[in-house]
């Protein structure tokens, strides 16, 4: 197996995740796209850990834990937005626009 095939798969997943973050209007779907990005980074970490020792696997585990925390807080924020505005359209949240 080549190192590159894993890195390229991760690059493609990362780009698809970025596309989703830009295009999606629903807050929950934006969070799902962020999960795609985090997972592509995990593939990279594990692939490099075959070269540089088990630290990469440890950090992949850390990323999984941080992603769980991020989804918890993110969904709470989306829920709060829904409660205040009756919609989760993230494009409508433009109060900070000058």
């Amino acid at each position: 197996m080549l190192l590159n095939q894993f890195l390229l798969l991760a690059a493609i997943l990362f780009s698809i995740g970025v596309y989703g973050v830009i295009v999606r209007r629903n807050g929950v779907l934006v969070l799902m796209s962020i999960e795609l990005i985090l997972n592509s980074v995990n593939i990279n970490l594990i692939a490099f850990s075959t070269y540089h020792g088990l630290g990469g696997q440890v950090f992949a585990l850390f990323v999984i834990a941080v992603a769980a925390a991020e989804v918890g807080v993110g969904l709470a924020i989306v829920l709060l937005i829904y409660r205040n505005r009756r919609s989760v359209d993230v494009d409508a949240l433009d109060e900070l626009k000058g």
């Binding site: 197996m1 080549l2 190192l3 590159n4 095939q5 890195l7 390229l8 798969l9 690059a11 493609i12 997943l13 990362f14 780009s15 698809i16 970025v18 596309y19 989703g20 830009i22 295009v23 999606r24 629903n26 929950v28 779907l29 969070l31 799902m32 999960e35 795609l36 997972n39 995990n42 593939i43 594990i46 692939a47 850990s49 075959t50 070269y51 020792g53 088990l54 630290g55 440890v58 992949a60 585990l61 850390f62 999984i64 834990a65 941080v66 992603a67 769980a68 925390a69 991020e70 989804v71 918890g72 807080v73 969904l75 709470a76 924020i77 989306v78 829920l79 709060l80 829904y82 409660r83």
Partner: protein, 189 residues
């Protein structure tokens, strides 16, 4: 320019189908890319969550191919078991349309597609230029594994509770803080 690209593509694909594991990898990878595209393009929010399960399972299979069993099992437990269920609850609690909906995307699709393709091209160019045809030898696993009696999970535990102990403890504090934060944000009063 085109000659360079052809050379790079040839270098990158030279050893692509030399083992059965590679064939498995390419099948899983093609399915993962398809499922990921469905996550960001489907009109149905619940279907997006289900396609996300497929991508996450594919990532877990990739971890298995890279001989990281413990991380693969954690991926299945945490992502497929917990996070996707959390997403489904989020979908239900925000009363998203459970069927097809045509207002899930904004009008930035062409720009976003260009951004995505450019990003893939730049990363792919850099990665292929840097790593060419480096083979996976798993040499870094052999030292810690011999130390742990040829058990990969023991080797990983030695790494977490040895050199990485402080980040691990900080992470548990972070998880507690995030949990309390989520409760404070989501409670009604």
């Amino acid at each position: 320019m085109i000659g360079t690209l052809a050379l790079l593509a040839q270098q990158a694909t030279e050893h692509s189908f030399d083992t059965p594991v590679n064939v498995v990898f390419y099948i899983v990878a093609a399915f993962m890319v398809f499922a990921a595209i469905r996550v960001v393009t489907t009109d149905n929010i619940v279907h997006a969550a289900l396609w996300l399960i497929m991508v996450l399972a594919g990532v877990g299979l990739n971890f298995l191919l890279l001989q990281a069993e413990f991380v693969a099992i954690t991926q299945v437990l945490v992502y497929l078991g917990a996070i996707v269920v959390l997403f489904l609850f989020g979908i239900m609690l925000t009363r998203a349309p459970l069927g097809r909906a045509d207002d899930l995307d904004n009008n930035m699709k062409p720009i976003a597609a260009v951004v995505g393709v450019l990003l893939t091209a730049v990363i792919a160019f850099a990665v292929i230029r840097t790593f060419g045809d480096d083979r996976l030898t798993f040499e870094a696993y052999s030292g810690p594994m011999a130390e742990a009696g040829n058990n990969r999970t023991t080797a990983l535990a030695n790494e977490i509770f040895g050199p990485q102990l402080i980040p691990f403890e900080v992470l548990s504090v972070l998880l507690t803080a995030a949990l309390i934060g989520a409760i404070v944000l989501a409670r009604r009063d």
